[in-house]
Symmetry: C3
Subunit: 478 residues, 3 copies
């Protein structure tokens, strides 16, 4: 990325051979591959940036608020080493006072920058500091103030507004993620604005699908109010989903997304499903009934996808809010979501028996449990026409994690049952860095296959573009 | 492989440095190792080629029937991308009509050849096309007809008959796999034929051991009829197994093989075992009783092995026929067998307590669950005298799968508690390619150990021959 | 290690580039890193050497007694290949006679030395033979007697006494492990001796914490007798632990250690805990009650650590004494401890809810189940202030095991939530070899990060020292 309006990127960080193979033959091939994809537009089909940024196009407030306060990957690492989250400005919900001086937060962050050595967070922070702000020196306690001032000054410039960065980053399309009850007003505002940037929403109905979700009963009632359907009945509830999906589609959505604790699916008879829904509405239900209901809803969503064409994404297996004390004080998404083992083979069978052989359907599976790549996910995706394998969740920005995924999944699933890259990020300035790392790792992997005699270079060339661009567009129907 | 009767292999595919390390020092060592094993005879102690081929020695009919129709690794990849299996000529059992024109099937296959990029299937197909048929160009829609014609013409030549290929491939001995009720007529015919090729059978009694097997009751009755034993009694049932094992031994068998859903074993008292068998015969039994019975039979088989010397192979953990729709239309072995997690440590304890300390017994363990390599299988095989570790099932032809197995198993189990290579294939033309890949990967791995200072080169030399040839012969008593 | 009093190490084994990257650029960086840590003092914060050695400072008896008889990593490999443990001099508890001639044992060991090819055991044995005894030739049947004689003669020299070797090895501090009922007399004798070598104990109370431990009731009674507390009451039992911990601290302990079959923890109310203890004392309790009690005691120990500052080590997941026949004849620690899958996420939650957010507490987690590195352990350690990740248990001396740990844990946990190296050994002569291997593997890994552009070399330099020395000292408070 060498945008004319931004400073020239640091050569230390943006070295041409970053993450390339060391062997000269492999490196030359990898470089050729990378050179052909480095500047391809960014397709970001799954993520968590805030549509309000693009709609309002306001300046980002300051370096700490941009890089530290909202990013649990950043503050968890300091927290793990004894720094209080309050001292990093993370807002509390119990009224505990927190640091409000961005510079003080930034200094604490800079003083602990060594904690990120060897982590993906460090990789993209360095890249963003260098490529966006021309910073050539590694962040440290010594240069904390200077770096703060430089970034802070830049953020006030027009070139650093969200829409300008969106264009500078070369984003062709980005998907955000909104709950089923969201009014999508920022997307509506964007559509009305005349700005050319393409920002689409994604239908994420967990709050009205998961009986264990906080405020589930109220959420159901709101879903009814919004859609004019009687969401106390199974028929009305399904109709409400169909209506919301249509509204999301009208705001650009090409996919739904589902974050369940397990990969359980179900294919109950209509009367069984209705009876289960009645129990769910009456509440409370047992843990296994809640799991069954979520599983049934995945199959219902897949059936709706057969009608409306939305791609179905499944993100199972996160044990969310593991730290009770942190959850009580700070709430969700505080770096305490921990993966556990996830079964796919028996869990997905009801869904796959129902719709797995439909070539017009696309179900994208994700996992936090790497042991499932070669054992379960690649064999499933290498067989069922409806299945595709998402990139390695929670290792989206991880060099080693990407490599393990390729090494463990591709031989069985092939490249064409995968869907390219997701950045999955809330951290807007990290987007070019993440895509760049993925492209480099892919090109290095492909070059090694060429050197091994497992692939011809012209095929690797085609695959490099597929992985960086085409597969994501095709799989997500963007 | 440069057989005088076959065309000179393509240099593109059969490049001398295929799969060799990139570093010049490591590559030179690996090449020296490989040169000493490249032309060793092939020992194939476990596989699924058809003994009828060798007995009848008829020409293979055409390229599609040889390479596409019977190979679920091939057609599943097209199926996963929306190509109907009917259009690939896969026979149905429900009468659905299927494509019968081999050339039409071949064209569909060729048009989708890019789907195999990065897969082991591609690796051996390229190798077979090049080494057997002198094809220098990658298969594609453009050259589909020309390739079809060239292979089709070759298959009509005497040099491409099964026995000629067997000799060209340098096969010293190959094992096929037959069910307990098989009449072994092709093996008998082979023995009577005077042909020097060594083809042995393997005793695979799943159909008369697994209460969940289709037609189990009838199978038991047939086992009784064949052996003249009363297979409705525990004593008669065991005697019938002993008789069949003796017949299989007479047809060359040195091993039995057992493909159970789990690795459960049991060591019941004689009276408990008899009571369980009585329930099994009366049928139906619960899932856990069926599992227990299969487990008890592994221990019984091990006891018989102590008497008759057959090596006991255990292949647990496949969830077979996962796709209900495909199973209904096409039946078994359609690419829908999916692995699941497999416990070995507690599951095998009854068997190991009974016979694990017997140095005269050989039990070869396989796994589809890679997480068991370093955690369970290598520690078990590195301790129990009766245990050996089979090569990585479902990754037999996978470069990355082989590497992971070596990296995860050898440090704990050592090389000498492993058993060399299995090709495990139904695809006859793939055999030289598979053994060649295994030898190359092994030599590359050994060369890296030498470069690391973990092994002397003379030891690596000895190990290369052990892995390519000696270990399989010794472990399988061939 | 080139101690003036010992022979010059063999260049074959102690080659400067052993385990270094092959690429010249990476190798040069790795060599620079390694050169700066190669001779750092050894900090060994967890292990199983015998404090009596250092206290008595007697000569080690002979090569077989030093290297073969007590080391189950050595004799299990021969046992797995059919050599009787009796023939290797392993003492029996059922009176079965065993080989008593050290030279006969040594010859059997030497004749089977090829079995260790590719194993960590081979790596350290070669290193010890070369570095300590100047042996340049690989051990074999042919040179068995000559090697025996050379080592045997050396062991009689003052330079090979335990204290001299301790100094030669450059050990700054070593921790041994003693049970709660140990009288610590060798530690007392060491303290009184005036010798400058620092040998500290570790509090390992499994025998008085685990209701399933052999002789548990008697152990409880002895704990009462030793401490003067009424260990039949919950209050007295806890007080007894506090007293023993204080005594261990007085003998240098900075840590406790807990080897439970699972990672279960509990945080019962005081009255529930007391009621459970009462059942445990009355005995026998169910398997789940025993598991719950062990889990409760981990939380109690963590609470005591908050008071007395001992670091809490948890080593869960070993299925001990898997081989019933071997256990009956030879007892514990005979190479038949087999890992199984271990859950951490839900198992540790009660402990972490109780004390996980305490920055003054250090809990070091170990695993035998590698699948937990990236899925559970790194995310936990990368979040909870009280948690640190121990090095890869059972792969402490394993090159591939170390690499997998770094590749799977560091990106999520960071380096600074890990604790450096443990040798964890009973084999005194292996200590320098094990630390040297760890330092080499670490430097190779760091060099690759530098070449990749993921780390600056000055940071790698600092990390090399952290991993070799500082992190262990800091985490274990040594």
């Amino acid at each position: 990325m060498t945008p004319s309006r931004l400073p020239a990127p640091s050569s230390r960080i943006c070295a041409p051979d970053r993450l390339m193979p060391l062997d000269p033959t492999a490196r030359a091939i990898a470089r050729r591959l990378y050179d052909s994809v480095a500047t391809l537009p960014i397709v970001s089909p799954h993520g968590h940036t805030d549509p309000r940024w693009y709609a309002e196009n306001a300046a980002f407030p300051d370096p700490a608020t941009l890089f530290v306060v909202p990013d649990h990957y950043v503050f968890r690492m300091l927290y793990a080493q004894g720094v209080r989250m309050e001292d990093l400005g993370v807002p509390t919900r119990d009224g505990t006072p927190v640091e409000t001086d961005p510079r003080a937060i930034w200094r604490r962050f800079a003083a602990h920058y060594h904690l990120f050595r060897g982590t993906p967070t460090r990789l993209w922070l360095d890249h963003a500091f260098a490529a966006l702000f021309g910073l050539d020196e590694r962040l440290s306690a010594a240069n904390a103030d200077a770096v703060f001032d430089r970034i802070d000054a830049a953020l006030k410039l027009p070139a650093y507004r969200p829409r300008a960065l969106f264009e500078t980053f070369g984003i062709e399309v980005i998907a955000t993620t909104e709950g089923a009850l969201d009014d999508l007003k920022w997307h509506a505002s964007l559509a009305a604005s005349g700005w050319a940037g393409r920002v689409v929403t994604t239908y994420r109905p967990d709050a009205v699908v998961d009986p264990d979700f906080e405020g589930f009963a109220g959420n159901l009632a709101r879903l009814g109010a919004i859609t004019g359907e009687d969401t106390a009945t199974w028929k009305g509830y399904l109709a409400a989903h169909r209506k919301r999906r249509a509204v999301f589609k009208a705001h650009g959505a090409t996919a739904s997304d589902h974050g369940h604790p397990t990969a359980t699916t179900a294919n109950l008879s209509a009367s069984e499903a209705e009876a289960l829904f009645t129990k769910v509405v009456a509440g409370p239900v047992s843990a296994s009934e809640a799991d069954l209901f979520r599983g049934q809803m995945l199959t219902e969503m897949a059936r709706m996808s057969l009608d409306d064409g939305l791609v179905l994404q499944i993100h199972p297996g996160s044990r969310r809010n593991h730290n009770a004390g942190i959850f009580a004080r700070f709430g969700r998404d505080m770096g305490a979501d921990i993966p556990g083992p996830t079964d796919y083979v028996s869990a997905l069978k009801p869904l796959l028996d129902a719709v797995g052989n439909e070539p017009s359907l696309t179900i994208i599976l994700f996992t936090l449990d790497e042991t499932a790549y070669s054992r379960e996910l690649a064999p499933l995706a290498g067989h069922y026409p409806a299945l595709r394998l998402g990139p390695p969740w929670w290792f989206f920005d991880s060099v080693e994690g990407m490599k393990r995924f390729k090494q463990q999944a591709i031989e069985t699933a092939g490249f064409y049952n995968t869907v390219g890259f997701n950045d999955d990020t809330r951290a807007f300035p990290s987007i070019p860095a993440r895509h760049d790392v993925a492209r480099r790792v892919d090109c290095a992997h492909l070059a090694e296959l060429v050197c091994d005699g497992r692939l011809d270079e012209d095929e690797a060339q085609e695959l490099a573009v597929d992985l960086a661009y085409r597969l994501a567009k095709a799989a997500y129907r963007l």
